[in-house]
């Protein structure tokens, strides 16, 4: 029976959605809507049906048709100039971000765009960045036509205010790859030239060609010294200037000693020098740096409101003409029109139309809020339903939400913490090294001047904490990968160290602790007969109001015919079922006297049948699955909640989070920021903020580590240090504990590399340090540290269940 039912439900050939209503049959295929059918026909006409052969149902639903008038602003030469990267007499080049891209069919279709619009010369997709680079002939087509074509086939590019602000996302720096390539080249060749030194029977060879090999090695090492290793020297120098010792200082001392002792040895003919070790160390340490730098290019961690806001908006002029204007130029007093699914860019008063505002970007609350004429609508909301007319009361950057970005927190540069493990280790390292070097000098000077110099320089060379400096990037890098596998994406490796120190966790409520798409519905009042319940459900089914839909989801049963159905905007519903007059709506609509109203803070919906008030429905938040588990895992960390909502859930939250938890309600975005500031004052607390909406953006930025919770990772999320997929919320405490564990692993790796240093130093102070010893000891120590870091993190991750 079930199998038969399933074959009856047809899936759309284009987008794969099940066709709930009658499927549209055309060309022997079923489509769920006209939009999908239209895209198919367009592709078929142009012989682009390979699209459907590469992947099954690759399309994007065409249910939400876009009005093409929306793209009128792209005809504006100013907007065009800001979006285009390159323009010549014939062609224009630009790059779009297309979040909908998801499969190889997408790549294929987007790279065959020229078949749909002959004005397009070439399109190249970068799938990981979800970008498409387009070249088109501006005589044959226009920017607007290109965007319209993309929108028509379902790949509407995300063009936001940030794109036109000139804040172009900088291309990933390739410097590290150049440095790595150069160091690798030099390392390989110098080692080849140094090889005869490792074997004693080639002494004759060394005798006749030694100086030639030596000078060639110097030649090969010079670019490594000046280009590849430059980063270590500049970082150490900056540290000295700020009177701080960082890990790069002992590294630089070691590298300098290695390089100049080698040159001295070769030029004076004393020996072959240690240039193979020098280039090798730079190469290995650059690998460590590269490993640490590799982050999630595709995720944007530093978005502000401009990444969410549209570029242009429809303005109604005095003569009722509509024109699109750049959002930046909106002035107080302008009248604007917002259509279905459009974002409101500035605080404005509602003048006309029925506003249902979805604030999910801002607060995480998914239920649209109804607004009546004359009410102020804050920027950041998305209109659902008919088009509305508004009058701007504040400029874009001065709005309730957007003024948050005027706070100084957002203009400050993020300074790298100097109190990282490796920097503290570096400080002790250089002290011990200098002591040992001085000791060797003190011991050898009265006995053998030559030996004294040798021992002194060898100590500086061997004590180069290169293996030590590799421990941190490798442990952090692998921890980052473990987190990424579990859908927790951190901005850079340093965040691991911040997370390990956290002692206070602050949560946003709506959308973070609660499941945004669900709410528990309870009924209070006189018991309903089954006939009454059926009548109520039947009336509710006729309404598209979100509250009606939530209640009807919670109720079960059949529906009956409804007569005289009416919906009063902002008030409620009325309808007749089997002769019963059912009215459902707000307290005011049903005439419930104010003193009899229960729990005014909660959202309530009252019900009356035939004029008698029966009772009311109330909505409770549903907390995320695994919340208890997370709270248990957090152990003795201080917990607080910042909610923009009212306090009707206070009792439930307090019970859930424990008595010590601090609960704050009715918090504005700025208050949230200030709360975190207060917590951090005096440096007593290391604060982790977990939030999801734009209203948490300030708090996320202000906290030591901000985690943005997101239902779809590539989607919008406010600026933060890490993005956590909502599905992995239950692992939050595991992540925190694991970052602590990874700090212990770093210490352990330090211990391993210290053993090598002790062995090396013992050889060095005795003056026995030779090129062959260095050629064996240095690669072994670096490679074993890399291997140890990698394996230990893997093992710990397995044990922690990540």
């Amino acid at each position: 029976m079930e199998a038969a039912l399933q074959t009856n439900i047809q899936n759309c050939y284009h987008c794969g959605d099940s066709c709930k209503d009658e499927p549209i049959l055309a060309h022997d295929k079923a489509f769920c809507c006209d939009g999908c059918k239209a895209v198919y026909e367009l592709l078929e006409e142009n012989n682009l049906c390979t699209y459907y052969n590469l992947e099954e149902n690759p399309g994007l639903t065409g249910k939400k048709p876009v009005s093409e008038a929306r793209f009128a602003y792209l005809d504006d030469p100013g907007v065009e100039a800001q979006l285009i990267n390159f323009r010549s007499d014939k062609i224009c080049k630009l790059t779009f971000y297309i979040p909908q891209m998801h499969c190889s069919s997408c790549i294929w279709l987007l790279e065959n765009l020229f078949k749909l619009n002959p004005g397009i010369a070439e399109t190249t997709v970068n799938f990981l960045r979800k970008e498409v680079a387009i070249t088109y002939f501006h005589e044959r087509t226009s920017l607007r036509e290109v965007v319209q074509l993309l929108a028509r086939i379902g790949y509407e590019p995300a063009i936001t205010l940030a794109d036109t602000d000139g804040k172009k996302t900088s291309k990933q720096s390739r410097t590290i790859i150049y440095k790595l390539g150069l160091a690798g080249f030099a390392f390989g060749n110098v080692m080849l030239l140094a090889f005869p030194d490792y074997l004693s029977f080639t002494e004759e060879l060394q005798h006749s060609y030694g100086s030639f090999f030596g000078y060639l090695s110097i030649l090969l090492s010079i670019p490594v010294f000046f280009y590849s290793a430059r980063g270590f020297f500049t970082s150490a120098w900056q540290g000295i200037r700020q009177r701080m010792v960082n890990i790069d200082l002992p590294i630089s001392t070691g590298l300098l000693a290695l390089f100049f002792v080698s040159i001295f040895d070769i030029v004076t003919g004393r020996g072959p020098g240690y240039l193979d070790s020098f280039t090798g160390l730079v190469f290995f340490m650059l690998i460590g740096k590269y490993f640490q730098q590799k982050t999630y290019d595709t995720l944007a961690f530093d978005r502000d409101y401009t990444s969410y806001f549209p570029v242009s908006i429809t303005v109604i002029k005095e003569n009722r003409e509509e024109a699109s204007t750049a959002v930046r130029n909106l002035k107080v007093g302008d009248r604007i029109r917002i259509r279905n699914q459009e974002l409101i860019p500035a605080d404005a008063i509602l003048l006309q139309g029925r506003a249902m505002i979805d604030y999910s970007f801002v607060s995480g609350e998914s239920e649209p809020v109804e607004k009546v004429m004359g009410e102020v609508i804050y920027a950041g909301g998305r209109q659902e339903g008919e088009s509305i007319e508004l009058e701007v009361v504040k400029e874009v950057s001065q709005g309730y939400l957007t003024q948050l970005w005027n706070d100084t927190v957002f203009s400050k540069d993020e300074s790298q913490s100097l109190h990282t493990y490796s920097n503290i280790a570096g400080k002790w390292f250089i002290i011990v090294t200098l002591l040992v070097a001085a000791g060797a000098l003190w011991y050898w000077v009265p006995r053998d001047m030559d030996m004294a110099m040798k021992a002194f320089t060898s100590v500086l060379i061997i004590a180069c904490p290169c293996a030590l400096s590799l421990a941190t990037p490798f442990v952090h890098g692998h921890t980052m990968r473990v987190f990424g596998r579990n859908k927790f994406y951190i901005k850079n490796a340093a965040v691991v160290e911040t997370l390990a120190k956290i002692d206070t966790v602050v949560f946003d409520k709506t959308g973070t602790l609660t499941e945004p798409s669900e709410a528990e519905v309870t009924y209070t009042g006189k018991t309903l007969s089954s006939a009454q319940q059926q009548a109520i459900l039947s009336v509710l089914r006729h309404s598209t109001h979100p509250l009606s839909q939530r209640i009807s989801h919670a109720l079960t049963g059949d529906t009956a015919q409804v007569q005289h159905f009416q919906e009063y905007a902002g008030k409620g519903l009325a309808g007749e079922v089997n002769g019963m007059l059912v009215r459902i709506g707000s307290a005011a609509y049903l005439g419930v006297p104010a003193d009899k109203q229960q729990d005014t803070l909660k959202t309530t919906v009252y019900v009356s049948v035939d004029g008698t008030l029966l009772g009311y429905y109330t909505f409770f938040n549903v907390y995320r699955e695994g919340l208890r588990q997370v709270l248990q895992g957090l152990g003795d960390k201080k917990i607080a909640v910042l909610s923009g909502d009212n306090n009707h859930e206070e009792a439930r939250l307090q019970e859930l989070l424990g008595q010590e938890a601090e609960l704050n309600f009715n918090q504005s975005p700025l208050q949230k920021l200030e709360y975190i500031q207060r917590l951090k004052q005096g440096g007593q607390h290391q604060v982790l903020m977990v939030g999801d909406g734009l209203n948490d953006a300030g708090a996320l930025k202000q906290s030591d580590a901000g985690i943005a919770l997101s239902n779809s990772v590539t989607n919008f999320s406010p600026s933060c240090d890490a993005i956590l997929d909502a599905g992995a919320f239950d692992k939050l405490s595991t992540f925190l504990n694991f970052s602590k564990k990874s700090m212990n692993l770093i210490l352990l790796t330090f211990a391993v590399s210290l053993i090598y240093n002790v062995v090396g130093l013992t050889i060095a102070v005795q003056g026995l340090f030779t090129p062959i010893v260095s050629a064996i000891l240095m690669p072994i120590s670096t490679l074993s540290v890399m291997a140890f870091a990698t394996l230990s993190v893997r093992y710990a991750a397995k044990k922690a269940g990540l």
Binding site: D28, N47, C49, T50, N53, L54, S104, I107, W108, E111, V125, N126, F127, L128, R129, K171, Q172, R174, I177, Y178, G181, L182, F185, G188, N189, L192, L193, S208, Y209, F212, L216, L220
Partner: protein
């Protein structure tokens, strides 16, 4: 044994050639995207009239 000078010179020149090739590859953006080209090379070139093969496939399915 003077041949060693020539051999070493040749080996360094060859290695430098590879280094130059690597730098060129980085500069031309070949290391920027390591996923899409791998997918792109699997797409068929469609020189034959695409409509024909399309209809054949529809019949078989």
């Amino acid at each position: 044994m003077h041949i060693i000078f020539i051999l070493i010179a040749i080996s360094v020149v060859v290695a430098a050639g590879f280094l130059a090739a690597f730098l060129w590859a980085v500069r031309s953006g070949q290391y920027d995207d390591d996923y899409t080209p791998a997918v792109r090379m699997l797409f068929e070139n469609e020189y034959k009239p695409a409509g024909k093969s399309e209809k054949l496939e529809q019949k078989t399915s």
